[in-house]
């Protein structure tokens, strides 16, 4: 096996970005706007919500519920596919987030200005895990528009976290958000390497 073949096999063939935010904030809309396939849905079985997921011990009882995760796919190159995973919105399903976020490039936290409080917990999650994230304010029709600086202040966002506004239905704007989080993750990684080198 020659060197190039070996190298190609070691290089990651797929990656992911997580789309988070409160229930009904437009996560699936954003995924659908850029995905090359109709968004797909995968499910995990939850047998005891207080103890987290164990999707196989699922003795069928009324206590068994499912948590659904929608995702989309973008083929970026012959050898690279990007998946977008929407997080389950409800707080009780947050144990799935660790699984979804492991190995992710970063996260986009979608925000609805009418329900800013729903964004606090997702923001706390990504901050505490050290996962790069940006905030994207989804501007629904008819919703008053506030300057993103005001929203950043209301969310108590750290200064270096990028915040943008977008229409989650618009492919180019959704793509712009993906570029933004990827650039930010790259900058964060380069910074950490510089710090370690010094």
């Amino acid at each position: 096996m020659d060197y190039e073949t070996t190298k190609a096999q070691r290089a990651a063939a797929s990656t992911k970005i997580v789309i988070a935010g409160g229930f009904g904030v437009g996560k699936s809309t954003l995924v659908g706007a850029v995905s090359e396939i109709d968004p797909l849905r995968t499910e995990a079985l939850v047998t005891n919500e207080s103890e987290g997921v164990d999707d196989l011990s699922g003795v069928p009882t009324k206590h068994t519920t499912t948590v659904a995760m929608d995702f989309g796919r973008l083929t970026l190159a012959e050898d690279l596919v990007l998946y977008l995973f929407g997080t389950p919105g409800q707080r009780r399903f947050w144990f799935m987030w660790d699984d979804l976020c492991r190995g992710a490039i970063g996260a986009i936290v979608l925000v609805d200005v009418a329900r800013l409080d729903e964004s606090f917990s997702p923001l706390d999650y990504f901050e505490s895990k050290g996962i790069p994230f940006i905030v994207a304010v989804n501007e629904f029709d008819g919703v008053p528009r506030y300057p993103v600086e005001e929203i950043a202040a209301a969310l108590a966002l750290p200064d270096d976290v990028p915040i943008i506004s977008l229409d989650a239905r618009d492919r180019e704007q959704a793509k712009g958000a993906l570029v933004k989080i990827t650039e930010y993750a790259l900058m964060r990684l380069r910074e950490s390497l510089t710090v370690n080198a010094n």
Partner: protein, 122 residues
């Protein structure tokens, strides 16, 4: 042991019954299988007798991710992982690289740069 329930049965509840039985009680996959990891058929591998569920997974998995296999077979993600883990152990499929906790900074950097290039041209 009761025979498998046929899908034609109106009372068939595929997800619950399958998840309880088809993995023989196992709850963890034998290999790490991130949601986004891509599966590939192993060239020249000879398929042994497989359970219908495992055969279904094998049928759809080539060049698809763990999450896609779960979605297309309508099996919960945990069940899908166990079945894929078995197929990997049997040498029928392999998993392509992804970024994990064990990846080096260089590997991360290379992946994010490739992603950025791809997104800009998307």
């Amino acid at each position: 042991m009761t025979p498998p329930v046929e899908p034609e049965d109106e009372n068939y509840r595929p997800r619950l019954i399958r998840s309880y039985t088809i993995t023989a009680g196992r709850t963890a996959a034998t290999v790490e299988l991130p949601m986004e990891a891509t599966l590939r058929l192993q060239a020249g591998a000879e398929a042994p007798m497989l359970s219908p569920s495992a055969a279904q997974v094998l049928e759809v998995c080539d060049r698809r991710s763990v999450a896609e296999v779960s979605a297309l077979t309508q099996m919960p993600i945990g069940v899908t992982r166990v079945l894929l883990g078995d197929l990997i152990e049997q040498g029928l499929i392999r998993i392509q690289a992804t970024i994990t906790e064990k990846s080096s900074a260089d590997e991360r950097l290379e992946l994010i740069e490739r992603t950025l290039r791809g997104l800009r041209n998307y």
